[in-house]
Symmetry: C2
Subunit: 237 residues, 2 copies
């Protein structure tokens, strides 16, 4: 295991980079955190796996101190469990977690829709319309993968159009947590309500055009709630 993501495989400290004039910033500040989060979100570790400190230190070319700082942060984000004296483990989302997460995402996206109606520019709206039609094209040709891509982009753009940075970062954090599960078989169940979801997206675009914030807020929540329901029939956890 441990996919090769390393840039400096070993002996990071003590030897200067022979390479050219790198920007003097590039500090490991959020760097380690981001790399480790990506590493976990991208699914390099399985649910429940213990996080191998020493291996990751070697992989990232750092000592345990900054790595453990990142572990604490990721635990506070809900990505890891911290077991006293027995290290960090990748937190497996229970069915309940999933349910709760989808509702919270629904609340956040509902808020995003409402605020987007207040703040969206014509350009942003046009961009979302474009994505919507691309997505519709995917739907027509039964391209589920493409559909998901555009779908996600549309949701992201609506959040962006809300113009609320705190909302955006909160949304991104939860989306990351869901991403570990997003591409699993569970999500393929969305296919069963594909046409329904497509109709919901028509309603979303319509409400957004009319700047009907309250209505859009409601549609967004129910859109997520329906997605949640499609999953709730699942069997695991």
């Amino acid at each position: 295991m441990l996919k090769s993501l390393a840039n400096k495989p070993e002996k990071a400290a003590g030897e200067a980079e022979a390479a050219g004039p790198q920007p003097p910033t590039a500090s490991l500040h959020g760097e380690v955190l981001t790399r480790l989060r990506d590493y976990i979100v991208e699914g390099n570790l399985a649910d429940g796996d213990r996080v191998p400190e020493r291996e990751l230190c070697a992989l990232f070319g750092i000592s345990r101190t900054p790595l453990r700082e990142a572990l604490k942060v990721l635990a506070s984000e809900g990505l890891l469990d911290l077991l006293p004296n027995r290290g960090a483990r990748v937190r497996a989302l229970t069915k309940r977690d999933l349910t709760e997460l989808f509702d919270v995402m629904g609340g956040l996206e509902g808020l995003a829709g409402r605020l987007a109606c207040e703040n969206i520019t014509d350009e942003q709206l046009a961009e979302i319309e474009g994505l919507h039609y691309e997505m519709y094209a995917c739907y027509l040709r039964r391209d589920l993968h493409g559909y998901f891509q555009y779908n996600q982009k549309i949701h992201q753009k609506i959040v962006a159009a809300a113009g609320n940075a705190i909302l955006a970062s909160t949304y991104a954090s939860f989306a990351g947590r869901l991403r570990r599960v997003r591409y699993s078989a569970n999500l393929a169940r969305e296919r069963d309500r594909w046409s329904e979801a497509m109709r919901e997206h028509e309603a979303i675009l319509d409400a957004l055009r009319r700047k009907a914030g309250q209505e859009l807020s409601d549609i967004m929540f129910h859109h997520l709630r329906n997605k949640r329901s499609a999953l709730a029939g699942g069997d695991e956890n």
Copy 2:
């Protein structure tokens, strides 16, 4: 500065507690984090103050390593800024931060109201009714402080009644961030719309009784939005 919160002023390591059979857990795990967060949230440091690592280490009786881990977590929560090579500072909420936070709180409380209508028990509803009338009594006798207390409790109880742990912890995190500002002069402006707020709370309780989730969601958002507007007239930041 540095209020005396210490339990073990010094030499924490290396000497066993003479006291009785403490649970073998009690590890400093979330302990340092919680203590530091409380310390900051309670306003022991002013906006923009640098966080005095060494002093807090002495105060908490720990070394820099666990303290810095906590600093990273609190920075990721938005309570601190981490400046490369020049330490952590208490993040001052800009007016924009405040605006955004209130909207996000509005979204979360709207969600909480909606879910509460789905999940609230009769006991929980009765408890909220009780708090509501206590709050109303404070309003009648112009007890602003008491009013705030009950107000906060009601909002917390609605969030709790939603029965979504992830929502609850997210809400708590943002509430903590607002708490630093909550008791400031800014909030006294609420007095100007006291009767309006009181009416809104009547509507909240009414919708909750009728389990009108969609309606309550909307009321909650606007309730927060109105509170936000009462602040928006402010002058600083």
